[in-house]
């Protein structure tokens, strides 16, 4: 045995303390409570059960399992602008891939393209990298500090132009705290 249980307990305790220290409990708390209460209301079918629901909502809102050091919040105007763009591009993306699947000659022109980040902030980049998996002809296959590698199915120039437009929309979703909203 390499570690005594006492050491293990100490390490675990230090980990928990670090995690607690990283919690930014105040940031966006009202919005999180509202959002989680809404989710509880939806999954209980509007019937309540708040005796269990309220503690669950509060604990979920107070403790983030994956705390970050970045401070940001959603920008409402950005979210409202994002939803129709997402709906339209999803539909286009599904029609595009369906067309490639049924076409007798199976028109696929795969290529790997490197794409450098314009947007700042880890959360925006992770969001974009996941989002493009649902967008027309793009799939994120590598994620680094400088950018990402994208697997594409069609014309590279058009795809990159589309990615840049999408990145601008994603950038407007997040507002770093300490900056004034425009």
């Amino acid at each position: 045995m390499t570690k005594s249980w006492r050491q293990a307990v100490q390490e675990r305790t230090a980990g928990v303390m670090r995690w607690l220290g990283m919690q930014q409990t105040g940031v966006g708390l009202p919005l999180r409570i509202l959002a989680y209460a809404g989710i509880w209301w939806i999954i209980t079918g509007g019937e309540g059960g708040w005796l269990w629901g309220l503690p669950a909502v509060l604990v979920a809102a107070l403790f983030n399992p994956f705390p970050t050091t970045e401070r940001w919040r959603w920008r409402l105007r950005g979210v409202l602008a994002f939803v129709p763009v997402f709906a339209w591009l999803s539909l286009r993306s599904a029609v595009d891939v369906a067309w490639r699947a049924v076409h007798p000659s199976r028109p696929l022109h795969p290529a790997l393209v490197d794409y450098a980040w314009n947007v700042e902030g880890g959360h925006a980049r992770v969001f974009l990298a996941n989002l493009i998996n649902l967008m027309p002809g793009t799939l994120c296959v590598r994620f680094t500090e400088q950018g990402m590698t994208v697997h594409i199915l069609g014309d590279p120039a058009r795809t990159i132009a589309g990615l840049e437009r999408l990145e601008a929309v994603v950038g407007r979703l997040f507002q770093p705290l300490g900056e004034k909203d425009d």
């Binding site: 989710i39 209301w41 939806i42 999954i43 079918g45 509007g46 999803s90 539909l91 993306s93 599904a94 595009d96 891939v97 369906a98 490639r100 699947a101 049924v102 199976r106 696929l108 022109h109 795969p110 290529a111 790997l112 990298a129 996941n130 989002l131 998996n133 649902l134 967008m135 027309p136 002809g137 799939l139 994120c140 296959v141 590598r142 994620f143 590698t149 697997h151 199915l153």
Partner: protein
């Protein structure tokens, strides 16, 4: 059947072909990357249309919201899973077909 039920039924009807074609892509496309394209994109729109259609048909706002919530969670899971599989495949040296 009232108007809402017709609209809901129409959305479900529109959603089904996307599942079918996504699966066709899974069978016809040549490698893991192109297959991920087919699955992630087509199934999500298919599920979205089916969920919204069923929610509208049910005539209950809470049920509609619940189905939309399920769809959104599925979108997150599907985008993340596709990305993880693709990144793992590339980092293990799997060359994309045609490159």
């Amino acid at each position: 059947m009232n108007t809402w039920q017709w609209i809901g039924g129409l959305l479900v009807f529109l959603g089904i072909p996307f599942f079918l074609l996504g699966t066709l892509g899974l069978l016809r496309f040549p490698d893991v990357y192109t297959r991920l394209h087919a699955l992630a994109k087509a199934d999500n729109v298919g599920l979205g249309l089916v969920c919204i259609g069923l929610g509208i048909q049910s005539g209950s706002v809470v049920l509609l919201l619940k189905l939309i919530l399920i769809w959104v969670l599925m979108l997150i899971a599907s985008a993340t899973a596709a990305g993880l599989i693709a990144r793992t495949a590339l980092s293990r040296g799997l060359r994309p077909w045609g490159t």
